[in-house]
Amino acid sequence: MVFNSHVFLFAFLPSLFTMFWLARSRQQRYVLLTVSGYVFYGYWNWRFCFLLLFSSLVSFVVALLIQRAPTAAGRRGWMITAIGIDLSILGFFKYYNFFVSMLHLVSPGWSPTPLDIVLPIGISFYTFHTISYVVDVAAGRVRATPNIFEYLTYVSLFSQLVAGPIVRFRQIEEDLEHLDRAPREDFMARGIGFFVVGLIKKVAVADQIAEFVNPLLAAHESLSTPAAWMAALGYTLQLYYDFSGYSDMAVGLGQLFGVRIPQNFNTPYRAVSVGDFWRRWHMSLSTWLRDYLYIPLGGGRRGPARTNVNLLVTMGLGGLWHGANWTFVVWGLYHGVLLMAERLLGTRWPPWPEPLARARTFLLVVLGWVLFRSESLAMALGWLGRLVGYEAGSEGAPVALLWWVIAGVAAVNFVPEAWDIRFNVRPRWAVAYALGFVAAYCFMNGRHSVFLYYQF
């Protein structure tokens, strides 16, 4: 189920919202949110609900065992067990065929047969949820909850189940503990406001740009240089409006049920360096990678050489997390190299004026998205080549896309994020949201498009 579908907007959300606020006790609300999370997830493929449940139960039980373990070694053992199980599931469903194909390249005679595996939607996200919970319990940052439904609510909360943000238990623990409180008008206003802003971003901007970008990239081999640039810039904007729109909707939905989901985007295309970009883009992932991968690897504490290795490993694995394709790995490494370069050069070179630094970062990020969007390294190389006029074809870009790009680039530089809006409870805001909602609904044109990050 997707947020911008009829079944979600007119059946799932209203019925769950009504039942949730009719329910009186915290436990009833946990059960409701858990069941609704599984209905939301199972609407795509009910069989994978069992996988979600299994993964959740493992981390729930292991977290309790960690808490009861008398020794640090015991806690560590249980933690590794849970992470191992979680990563094995993720590895099998997401990366098995990828590694088999790699093995086949190295040693055709020894590689196992590829399997017809369906990638469970959202598996990368909920695996990171469960891992962060177990690690936080083992580190003593959070107490394991003995309430199975509170935990299941955390993992299967429909608003962030399929494509994030990657919320840590401790970030919403307080709200979950007080789930039985009465609705707050400011929460409702923020919830509706965030949701409507996100919906507009998705259907009125991202999907409209996609109408031009997708056909261009379907014929990427014949793109002219201007068309290659328009496709790259168009996709840069499409991805931002799609994913940040989704994140805003997730935040809004959380607020409607009394759960404050943290910020995931902070005007990323205004970043003045690649490091700054990662503090603004998919913030829940970048902080997750920092806290659960980069810092445990040693972070920047073990000298410059090791820091660089840690950066590369973190960004490379971060790339691989997005998908079982070399394009993602190379994209992650590309960002790792850029971060390394910034560390090396940052202290030696004088800082650039902000507009130039912004433009430089934007350009580097756009080039990265070429890798990210490409279906293969060959496509990426071809596309990058066409950007500089190498083997460029004759396929032009529609003028309408140029206008979208101009407006979009201006918007990402000057229009505030949803988080910067002070959502108000005054009646005229309700009317403004209603107008926005109906306008966004008109842009849906009776269809619903899947969010780009659903594939991860």
Binding site: P215, A219, V425, A430, A434, L435, Y441, N445
Partner: protein, 353 residues
């Protein structure tokens, strides 16, 4: 409201939600009211503002009744808007029969069947059925066009029974739902704009003559004024054609069955099927991005099969060279102009004799 406002505290918290939902309902009612007033597609028969989008299915049924009443129709042209330029008078000269062009927008195979059944119900004795077949008439999405769905007369003809109460209700809901789309809102704006500018000839992209023949007042006017830009028109409609073919991987068995049923129900009438063309640039564009090339091959093979199994006359005009089509004889991605339409008619006369 009482359902979600169980207590005073809950009620206070929900005040904003109730305000929002009330405002949404208000905006929706306003939009529906505006749609009923402007009525740009003639869905409600208001008639205050000009109709800017024709519903060929509804219009042509009304026209057929009048045309058939004047003198019985003996031949019909079925197909999509790509066949609408086939002039009945040209066919009359070839076949010696009175023709009506019953092609409708975005026709799929079930449209052909529904229209043919409806014509038979009118008591018309049809001796020649010419089907202008598009590849996408066999789209494997099996989803009927929305204007067929909302046309009770054609639905009844297709189903062979009157619509049930729930089906009529669903039809009404769909009609109102279609108001909440950017294309409908755009049509409303256009209708109001045309009314304010008082240039009626610019109002509709297309109008039908009494025999169902299509005219394009706007494009024809632009050609006369020398402002018509074919390249720009093609540029604009390419995404629409791409959407049409995206997701289509093979010919629908259900839709092939619909065409075969039509052929079986013609009671000895002569059936001629011609495969329509799209502009070569559109064809290239689709071949690069969709399965269009494979689908065209599959359609050609199917037509051969139809010829063998049913003795139907089939003519492959999917390449403009097959009927001597001029590269400039187009109005957009897939719609031929008068010149190319005349060449299609001449070729049909030659090949069908």
């Amino acid at each position: 409201m009482s359902l979600i406002c169980g207590t005073a505290t809950t009620g206070q918290g929900m005040r904003f939600v109730v305000l929002f939902l009330t405002a949404v309902a208000g905006v929706a009612v306003f939009l529906v009211g505006l749609a009923r007033l402007v009525d740009p597609r003639d869905d409600f028969g208001t008639g205050v503002f000009p109709v800017v989008v024709s519903d060929a299915r509804r219009e042509k049924l009304e026209q057929f009744v009048i045309y058939n009443r004047e003198r019985p129709v003996q031949g019909i042209v079925l197909g999509s808007s790509r066949s609408m330029k086939l002039r009945p008078r040209s066919l009359e000269a070839v076949f010696g029969l009175r023709f009506f062009n019953l092609s409708v927008d975005s026709a799929r195979a079930e449209d052909y069947l529904a229209l043919h059944r409806w014509v038979r119900r009118q008591g018309a004795s049809i001796r020649v059925v010419i089907v202008g077949l598009d590849v996408e008439a066999f789209h494997d999405d099996d989803a009927p066009d929305s204007t067929l769905e909302s046309n009770a007369t054609l639905r009844t003809a297709l189903e062979g029974r009157p619509l049930r109460r729930n089906e009529r209700l669903i039809q009404a809901v769909r009609r109102y739902k279609s108001v909440f789309t950017t294309s409908y809102v755009g049509d409303m704006a256009r209708s109001v704009g045309v009314r304010l500018s008082r240039i009626p000839s610019e109002a509709r992209v297309s109008v039908f003559e009494a025999d169902g023949y299509l005219r394009y007042p706007r494009w024809e006017g632009q050609r006369v004024a020398g402002t018509f830009d074919l390249e720009r028109e093609i540029e604009e409609c390419l995404p629409k054609y791409l959407r049409r073919f995206q997701g289509m991987t093979h010919l629908s068995a259900r839709r092939r069955q619909a065409l075969e049923t039509l052929i079986a129900e013609t009671d000895g009438a002569r059936v001629i099927v011609w495969l329509t063309s799209i502009h070569p640039r559109t064809a290239r564009y689709l071949e690069e991005r969709t399965h269009y090339g494979d689908l065209l091959v599959e359609t050609r093979e199917y037509l051969e099969e139809l010829h063998r199994s049913f003795g139907v006359g089939v003519h492959d005009y999917s390449e403009p060279t097959a009927y001597g089509g001029a590269p400039t004889g187009w109005y957009d991605c897939g719609h031929i102009d008068e010149t190319n339409a005349a060449r299609v008619a001449t070729s049909l006369a030659r090949d069908a004799s």
